[in-house]
Subunit: 327 residues, 2 copies
Amino acid sequence: MSIKVGIYGYGNLGRGVECAVKLNGDMELVGVFTRRDPLNVKTLFNTPVYSADNVLDFENKIDVLVICGGSATDLPKQTPNLSKYFNCVDSFDTHAKIPEHFDNVDKICKDNGTVTLISAGWDPGMFSLNRLYASSVLANGSLYTFWGKGVSQGHSDAIRRIKGVKDAKQYTIPVESALERVRNGENPELSTREKHLRECFVVLEDGADANAIENEIKTMPNYFADYDTTVHFISQEELDKNHAGIPHGGFVICSGNTGVNGENKHVIEYSLKLDSNPEFTASVIVAYARAVSRLASEKSFGCKTVFDVAPKYLSQLSDEEMRKNLL
Amino acid sequence: MSIKVGIYGYGNLGRGVECAVKLNGDMELVGVFTRRDPLNVKTLFNTPVYSADNVLDFENKIDVLVICGGSATDLPKQTPNLSKYFNCVDSFDTHAKIPEHFDNVDKICKDNGTVTLISAGWDPGMFSLNRLYASSVLANGSLYTFWGKGVSQGHSDAIRRIKGVKDAKQYTIPVESALERVRNGENPELSTREKHLRECFVVLEDGADANAIENEIKTMPNYFADYDTTVHFISQEELDKNHAGIPHGGFVICSGNTGVNGENKHVIEYSLKLDSNPEFTASVIVAYARAVSRLASEKSFGCKTVFDVAPKYLSQLSDEEMRKNLL
């Protein structure tokens, strides 16, 4: 019996989920649910499109609903609401608000007999797992997370909001020398500026003042002021040709010592190099959708995170196959 | 209430467990159990030493017994026997015999109401976890495991058994160009020879025939014949000075594609760089000892592997702290 998956919200992430489900033979797509007019939404694999207003008609036809809304305003409402009726997965990534989101969703799930896993993806998600495993194994270890090289949607948007900017793309880049110090187990204390660079590719409106805009970017509080930022002005053609992708990635590194006097050093490193941030995020979500369907059939109701899910629940393999082939 | 840990077997791994428990504030050591005369065993931190014959006197005084025997002959007997009375962790690492070992231990644990986790360490262990997570997320991914640079005890022993060899140390080294091809997502098919090199440092007995021994090493079936092997003859002083450590490590890399036509490539890489193979293995074991004590208090009896254990069971942090600080 294949796992019946619904996609709620159809942007980059929703399309990524549609692609990822196609790669998993034990799953099938029931439909895409959109707030737009369904007639105007064309899916990648001819998955049927329905209005989000009609999602409750599918209460008994969907095993897991993947909610592909944004973390700022969509998910804090959508995930609790939909968890009344469906087992869900979301990719809520506002780290500071995860505890609140968890509590909201947990209550709904327990009241309604559903399972919802929040914050699936790579950070939060696979990076979180690696932070937990590494710091549990190296009890005195120092943990570092670096992001990039990759496109930050939020920072690109911030530049695009500047008057005189026609289009822009921002790359977050880990500082190679900082990475090397961490890999060497030096346990450095690193400031924000020492960890990441920001590189911006900006298309100006006709007649815009390049110097003023460069200054406005570099001094923008929270987004750029605490970083070494470089700004390149390029044409729209160049931006479209060379910066159309949404790659990302990064590193979780933990170093710690063991021995009678801490004489032996150990470095654990996990890294991702992703051509498409949303498609990889979607791939993680889909693996956790499998876990959610299994947890629901075990009646393990409530809100879950990646920390709560035994790894075996993610795999299509049987326990025996896993032990034989992967252990 | 701290977790009471016993150590059964006191070689390099047992000493590593003793060190690791000291780093974990929620654990305490009850004792070391040895097959040698306890009077002749001196522990690193004055942990009491008892005869292995008396371990059953501690049936109600130990929450988790860490079994530090060898995989070839000790663990296949010790782990089932001791699982009748104790919750246990072992580091059974004969990959081909894991299914059989699991079945033996599982029956004993279920009959006796105990929890035993087998095959903790880094491979099997952390590497297995990464193989499972990566291949679950990238459903069409290609998985690669490389070991080293590090000392292989088995290969060092094989050289030492050659007539005319006084002492020896063997390093397993991943082939850098193969690693690079895998990291680039080329999904190469790699032969044994293309993945790893073997480098041997050998001390000869007086009058031994160096050429004959070099040839015997390089042509030894299973151990060296399928690899590019280099042999260095050095003095005992040099071996003791430069090759006394037991470092190890390695890489698990998975690359796969997503998108409508597989147009986007993703590479997941997990690596370890370990100054002390047994001390890191011990650190993993101790984190899983915590998990075992929790699973036992939940009466989740049976044999477990790292695949069966939700990550949160490994951490000293509460669920709330984990979600706040690590997710």
